[in-house]
């Protein structure tokens, strides 16, 4: 089974309060993750 997430998030360099550097990934392809672990940060 698989879960696909598609979402809108601030682009890198977006000049928006709270967005700062945009969305950045915190994982690598093929990496094992646990539920609750961060995939990325806004």
């Amino acid at each position: 089974s698989t879960i696909v997430l598609v979402f809108e998030a601030p682009a890198a360099g977006a000049n928006h309060p709270g967005a700062k550097g945009g969305f950045s990934w915190a994982v690598e392809k093929g990496q094992k993750v646990k539920m609750g672990q961060a995939l990325g940060y806004v």
Binding site: V4, L5, V6, F7, H16, K34, G36, A38, L39
Partner: protein, 429 residues
Amino acid sequence: LRGALKDTKVKWYPIPVGLGIGFLGLVQFYKTQSREKERIEREGFEGEEGRPKKRPRIRPEGPWQVRVMSTLPLKAMSRLWGKFNELTIPYYLRVPGFKLYAYIFGVNLDEVSEPDIRVYPNLSAFFYRTLKPGVRPLDPNPNALLSPADGRVLQFGKIEGNDIEQVKGMTYTIDALLGKNTPTPSLSDKQPEPVNQSYKPTAPGHSGEELVSSEEEFARVNGISYTLPNLLSGGDESHDSPKQQKLEDQAADPSSPGAVSEVRADLALGEKPWYALISPDNRTALYYAVVYLAPGDYHRFHSPANWVVERRRHFAGELYSVSPYLQRTLPGLFTLNERVVLLGRWRWGFFSFVPVGATNVGSIAINFDKELRTNSLLTDTAADRAADEAAARGEPYAGFAEATYTAASAVLGGHALRRGDEMGGFKLG
């Protein structure tokens, strides 16, 4: 143990496996017959013209393994596999059986919520196990997007145009995965309520002062300003009302319940393609991530963020395996398989969550959607009928059944989820 084996009187009972299968077959036959009888009574005719035609099965291109697989009755096999795994395992075989499964698929039995795994009557129940509280801590950063489940990140990135890249460069479109981008029924069926005047469109050259009062105007304004941050902050403009300031403060605080949903009543996706969600001024972008759950993983999924689910689309597709090998070799695999598409919004705009079924794990359960039935003969028949009716009307079949979520609060407009909330899971068969 020797004494127990020698001295215990052994009394053999026949295990009625064949009888059980026969009984299930009889029940299924009876259900089919009753359904057909009801249909004839309701529609008043019998014969080929009243029977839903089968949806044409898509024969995917690929290597011979894929072609062979496409000839198999995968959904029937999946259902049979589910029934098989629901058979009760003899009490004394449960521990060695589950331990063998755990050894083969790498299950950490220390994390399982039940200290005595013999309470799981069958593999199906063990597969859908819960974990001990605290063994999956959530990332403390409120701006983190969390992994919804245990698994392996196969692919992630930014969506360019309408295409999502699959493994090894194969692509599929968002339209094919999520269905066409259509406005929410609640907004298309009725005249929208006037939007709070303090919500300003933020596109360049748009003053944002007028009160929106018609559907046409709403769509126009919505077409310009569709991201939650834009609506909340009014771009670079100052806040006009204490209410807007309050909403912004709430949305900025992820711990605030209902913060996202408070303003979403005024939002709609509009009739734009998905890729048009990317704002013209590059404030936001569309991203995607694919998490693969191996057979030994914890198979419940949780909310990756604070968001509001507005709609559910059920695509009654096929049930190919979603192993990394097949993901590499079968283009658009996720657009072929049965899946549940949950569409909604989060702090930064559009958000969707798509659990995709597989041959061994065909059933997708959503905790807040008791009416959803996946991997079911009934839903397949309903899909066949819908395809048939669409063909009779001369319209293309959308490929999915859609439902909208309502909430107790009018402004909520959907089912609100907080980060880490359990949403549902995958079940065997």
